[in-house]
């Protein structure tokens, strides 16, 4: 019997072993098969320009709007996509507020597909940690940023380059192990 013939009989086992290795890799509990990594990482922030939330008082951070130009040369900026109708955003809000207060960062918001009055009422109720907010009524900016759900937070460095995207709310438990080291790296 030739070597080739023998190899042919071992081949199915080898293919199975390879597939099984991938299965083992795929079962990692930290892996989320539904997660879509952002293609914007290490790319400049997309071109966008958003008006302020309608009805906001002059002089407030909600009255300035937000555009790509606001995101470079300003130190580290967290761009948080949020909406008053999004429950996880409510949970995330105090954590973002603390982060803004304790770290040397800017926090700006993209108010995604929200009603102006509801957004303002939401900020009134919970407090407004944002340095600037742009109202993305139609979700166009959301598409530019490649957003797939709310909340999402983009970490932008001083050069206006996107360095990290956080999908879903930032949990308190993630601060020490994940968020703070990333901020450290960006400095």
């Amino acid at each position: 019997m030739t070597m080739l013939r023998r190899l042919l009989f071992v081949l199915p086992l080898l293919i199975f072993a390879a597939a099984a290795a991938f299965f083992v890799w795929g079962l990692d509990p930290d892996r989320d098969p539904g997660e879509i990594p952002s293609v914007l990482i290490d790319k400049p922030v997309p071109e966008f320009s958003l008006p302020p939330i309608r009805g906001s008082e002059p002089g407030e951070s909600t009255s300035t709007g937000l555009s790509s130009a606001d995101l470079s040369g300003q130190g580290i900026t967290l761009v948080n996509v949020f909406a008053s109708w999004c429950m996880p955003c409510r949970a995330e809000h105090p954590i973002l507020t603390d982060l803004r207060r304790q770290e040397d960062i800017r926090l700006v918001g993209i108010n995604y597909k929200d009603e102006s009055e509801e957004a303002l009422a939401w900020l009134d109720e919970l407090g407004n940690p944002y340095d600037a907010i742009g109202a993305d009524m139609e979700g166009d900016a959301g598409l530019e940023w490649g957003v797939s759900g709310v909340p999402e937070t983009f970490f932008v460095d001083n050069e206006g380059i996107i360095r990290y995207r956080h999908v879903g709310p930032i949990h308190e438990t993630e601060l020490d192990d994940l968020i703070l080291p990333i901020l450290e790296e960006l400095r």
Partner: protein, 156 residues
């Protein structure tokens, strides 16, 4: 895992949520609308994954459907729109994976399997083929086998 469950709920629950293609999205030009439909059927929804934006109920899917129609109406072609979507969401958003080195094995894998199988089959067939011409020499083992077969045939 929790996020998946949230997504599933988002896709299935929301009473009164937008549902697949809505009448108000359609373009007036039937030819353009047909192109939009064809393109939408190959774009994956990033919220209700495993669905195309054509059938997805998610608001995001509707946004992309409208974007496709706006851009088609503005004169862009399918490739330009696809490129734009890929630049925002990556290859993931295309149900027709692009042809590039990392997908060669995908696109040519089936053909490769077929060709290798065919080669193995042909080698096997050559070995199994009964010799028909008298000039061909039978090997010793083949002669023995032949004798055995004749014997078997006679018995049965």
């Amino acid at each position: 895992m929790r996020r998946i469950i949230l997504l599933v709920l988002f896709c299935l629950v929301l009473p009164g949520s937008v549902l697949a293609v809505q009448p108000d999205e359609k373009l007036d030009d039937p030819a353009l609308e047909a192109r939009a439909k064809e393109l939408s059927a190959e774009i994956r929804c990033v919220v209700c994954q495993s669905e195309t934006i054509e059938t997805s109920n998610a608001g995001m899917a509707r946004d992309i459907r409208i974007l496709i129609r706006e851009r088609l109406a503005a004169g862009q072609d399918e490739d330009q729109i696809r490129d734009y979507l890929v630049s925002r969401y990556g290859d993931y958003i295309l149900y027709r994976p692009p042809m590039k080195p990392s997908t060669w094995l995908l696109w040519f894998g089936p053909a490769l399997v077929f060709v290798m199988g065919l080669a193995a089959l042909l080698v096997y067939l050559r070995k199994r083929r009964p010799n028909q011409s008298a000039t061909d020499q039978l090997s010793e083992s083949e002669q023995r086998r032949l004798a055995q077969l004749v014997e078997e045939d006679r018995q049965s």
